[in-house]
C-alpha cells in the first residue's frame, strides 16, 4: 500500500474556489454540465480588497471586515483542471470586486469509503 501511494504520479488536483454565496447554484450547475459530479462546499468568511460594512447597535459602531463567502472544494483529474477553472470563472463572475479566487494544488490519492476504490476511480 505504502508503495502504491508513492508510485502513483499525482494524477489529481484539488480546486478550491472562493465565490460569492449567491453564485453557488450557477457554479454547481455549470460544473455538472461539464461532467463534474462531486464537490464539497463550506460557508466561510472572506477578507480581501472588497470593503466590509458598518453595523450600529445602540450607538456602538462595528466594522465588519469579513464578508460571507462560499468555498468549493473539487477534486478533479489533471485533464479536468483547466476546463473546470474556466467554467467556474464564467459562472461566478460578476465583474465586481470580491468575486473571489481559485487555488489549485496537488492531491496524492483519493479513496471512496464505500468501495475502497482509489485514485481517480474514487472521485
Amino acid at each position: 500500500m505504502e508503495k502504491a501511494l508513492t508510485t502513483i504520479k499525482m494524477p489529481m488536483k484539488k480546486i478550491e474556489a472562493i465565490i460569492k454565496p449567491f453564485k453557488l447554484t450557477d457554479v454547481r450547475e455549470a460544473l455538472l454540465e461539464l461532467g463534474i459530479q462531486g464537490m464539497t462546499v463550506c460557508e466561510v468568511k472572506g477578507f480581501g480588497r472588497q470593503k466590509g460594512h458598518t453595523e450600529i447597535y445602540r450607538g456602538s459602531e462595528y466594522t465588519v471586515d469579513f464578508l460571507p463567502k462560499t468555498k468549493l472544494e473539487i477534486i478533479v483529474t489533471n485533464e479536468q483542471v483547466e476546463p473546470a477553472i474556466e467554467t467556474i470563472i464564467k459562472a461566478a463572475r460578476t465583474g465586481k470586486i470580491g468575486d473571489g479566487k481559485i487555488f489549485i494544488s496537488n492531491v496524492e490519492d483519493a479513496v471512496r469509503i464505500r468501495t475502497e476504490e482509489r485514485s481517480d476511480k474514487a472521485i
Binding site: 460594512h53 458598518t54 453595523e55 450600529i56
Partner: protein, 469 residues
C-alpha cells in the same frame, strides 16, 4: 449640523409638551364635564355606566390584539423570509405600531368612528382624541369607556397594514413602505372602517347604513382590504430577484410556528373582544373562532398530505391562520359546527389559492397575504350570508335599513348583501392601492437597489444583522 436642527426641533416638542401639559391640567375640569355630556351623545348617554367586567375583557382583548402584531405577526412573517431580511420584515410591523397609533390619535379614530357621511367620519370630531374619555359611547359600546373602545379598535388599525407587509417582503424600500402605509391608512383603512363599523357608514346595518353587510370582526375591514392591496403590491413591485428559480425557503420555521400559536391565542381577543362585552356572545364567538381554526388546519393538512404525499408542519400552521382569517367576519353569527365547516372550506380554498392560483398567475405575494387573508375572508363573508344565525346573535333577527325592517339571518338575500360588501371592499382597496403605489413610485421609489436586495434589507436598510456570533 443635522443634529443641531434636530435639537431645535426637539426643544420645540418638549416646550409644547410642557405648555400643553399645563393647558390640559387647567382645562381638565371643563373637559371632563364635556365628556360627561359630549355634544354627539344622545341625551340618555349620561345614564351610561361602565361595567368593570366588560372593561376588563376589552382591555385584555386589546392587549391580545397588540400581541398578535408583536410578537405574533413579526414572528410568523419573520420566520418565513430569508435570514438577511428578518429584521427588515419585523420592522415593518413594529414601526406601524408607532405610526398607525399616531395617525389614530390625530385624526384616524375620528375619520373612522366620528359622525360623518356614509363614506367617512368627521376627522375633527375626535381630533387628538378630544372627547374620547371615560364615559361610554352608547352607539358603539355602552358598557365600557369610550377610550377602551378606541384602544381596541386601534389595535385592528395597526395589524391591518402590517398584514400587507408580507406581500412586499424582502424588496421594498423602508421609506417607500412608510409613505405607502401612511397613504393607505388615510385612503383605504379609515374610510372602509367607517363604511362598515362607523355610525352612518354605508354598510353598517346597525347604525343607519344602506347595505346590511354582516362583518363581526373585520373580514372586510381587516383581511379583504389588506389582502387585495397586498396582491396589487405584489404585481406592482414585481418579483424578488431570483424568484422563483432560486429557492427561498423560510429561514426559521420555528419562529413561524411560535407566531401561529400567538396569533391563534390573540385572535380570541380579536374576535371575541369584538362582542364588546364579556357575556355569552363573547363565548360563542370564542368558540366559533377556535373551531374554524381547527377545521382549516385539518383540511389544509390532509389535502396537502393527499396531494403532495406529506403533511407539512408549515401547512398545518398556514391552515390555522387561514381558518382564523376565514371565520373573522362570521365569528359572532354562527354555531360551532357551522364555524367548523366554514373553517374546513376556508382551509381548502386557501390551499388552492396559495398553491395553484399563485403559480398560475405567477405573482410573488411573498408570504401569501392574498391567498390566505383575502381569499379566506371572502369565503367567510359569503358563507356567513348563508349561515348567519339569530340563535347565536339575536341582534340580526330584525334590523332596520332605510326605514325598512329586514332580517340578516342566512339567506340568498343576505348572501347578496355580503357579496356587495366584498365587492365594494375589493374594488376600493385595489384601486386606491394602485394609485398610492404609483404616487410612491414617482416620489421616493418602491424597490431597493439590486445590490441592496442581494445584501438583504437588514444591512441595507437598517445597518444591522440579526444573527452574530
Amino acid at each position: 449640523m443635522k443634529s443641531a436642527r434636530v435639537k431645535t426641533l426637539l426643544a420645540g416638542v418638549f416646550l409644547q409638551a410642557v405648555t400643553q401639559g399645563v393647558l390640559f391640567a387647567q382645562t381638565t375640569p371643563a373637559m371632563s364635564q364635556l365628556q360627561a355630556a359630549p355634544p354627539n351623545a344622545p341625551a340618555a348617554a349620561t345614564a351610561l355606566t361602565v361595567v368593570p367586567a366588560d372593561n376588563a375583557w376589552i382591555l385584555i382583548s386589546s392587549a391580545l390584539v397588540l400581541m398578535m402584531t408583536a410578537p405574533g405577526l413579526i414572528l410568523f412573517y419573520g420566520g418565513l423570509v430569508r435570514g438577511k431580511n428578518v429584521l427588515g420584515t419585523m420592522m415593518h410591523s413594529l414601526i406601524l405600531m408607532a405610526m398607525v397609533s399616531v395617525l389614530w390619535m390625530v385624526f384616524g379614530y375620528s375619520m373612522s368612528f366620528g359622525d360623518g357621511n356614509a363614506f367617512i367620519g368627521n376627522p375633527m370630531q375626535y381630533w387628538m382624541l378630544n372627547g374620547v374619555g371615560g364615559v361610554p359611547n352608547g352607539d358603539y359600546a355602552p358598557t365600557i369607556p369610550h377610550q377602551s373602545f378606541m384602544l381596541f379598535q386601534m389595535m385592528f388599525a395597526i395589524i391591518t397594514p402590517a398584514l400587507i407587509s408580507g406581500a412586499i417582503a424582502e424588496r421594498m424600500k423602508f421609506k417607500a413602505f412608510l409613505l405607502f402605509t401612511f397613504l393607505w391608512m388615510v385612503v383605504v383603512y379609515f374610510p372602509i372602517c367607517h363604511m362598515v363599523w362607523g355610525k352612518g357608514g354605508l354598510m353598517n346595518y346597525a347604525l343607519g347604513g344602506k347595505i346590511p353587510v354582516l362583518d363581526f370582526a373585520g373580514g372586510t375591514v381587516v383581511h379583504i382590504s389588506s389582502g387585495i392591496s397586498a396582491l396589487v403590491c405584489a404585481f406592482v413591485l414585481g418579483k424578488r430577484m431570483g424568484y422563483p428559480r432560486e429557492p427561498m425557503p423560510p429561514h426559521n420555521v420555528v419562529y413561524s410556528l411560535i407566531g401561529t400559536g400567538l396569533l391563534w391565542v390573540g385572535w380570541f381577543g380579536f374576535n371575541a373582544g369584538s362582542a364588546l362585552n364579556a357575556g355569552k356572545l363573547a363565548t360563542s364567538t370564542f368558540a366559533a373562532t377556535h373551531f374554524s381554526a381547527v377545521g382549516a388546519a385539518l383540511s389544509w393538512t390532509f389535502i396537502e398530505w393527499l396531494s403532495k404525499g406529506k403533511p407539512s408542519v408549515l401547512g398545518a400552521a398556514s391552515g390555522m391562520v387561514a381558518g382564523l382569517a376565514t371565520i373573522t367576519p362570521a365569528s359572532g353569527f354562527v354555531t360551532v359546527p357551522m364555524a367548523f365547516c366554514i373553517g374546513l372550506t376556508g382551509g381548502v380554498v386557501c390551499y388552492y389559492a396559495v398553491t395553484k392560483v399563485k403559480a398560475r398567475f405567477a405573482y410573488d405575494d411573498s408570504l401569501d397575504v392574498f391567498g390566505v387573508h383575502c381569499v379566506g375572508s371572502v369565503v367567510g363573508m359569503l358563507l356567513l350570508g348563508l349561515a348567519a344565525n339569530a340563535g347565536v346573535n339575536e341582534a340580526i333577527a330584525s334590523v332596520s335599513i332605510d326605514g325598512h325592517k329586514l332580517s340578516c339571518v342566512g339567506s340568498i338575500a343576505q348572501f347578496v348583501a355580503q357579496f356587495k360588501g366584498v365587492l365594494i371592499t375589493l374594488a376600493w382597496s385595489a384601486l386606491a392601492s394602485m394609485v398610492i403605489l404609483k404616487i410612491v413610485q414617482a416620489s421616493v421609489g418602491l424597490r431597493v437597489e439590486e445590490d441592496e436586495e442581494s445584501l438583504g434589507l437588514d444591512l441595507s436598510q437598517h445597518g444591522e444583522s440579526a444573527y452574530n456570533d
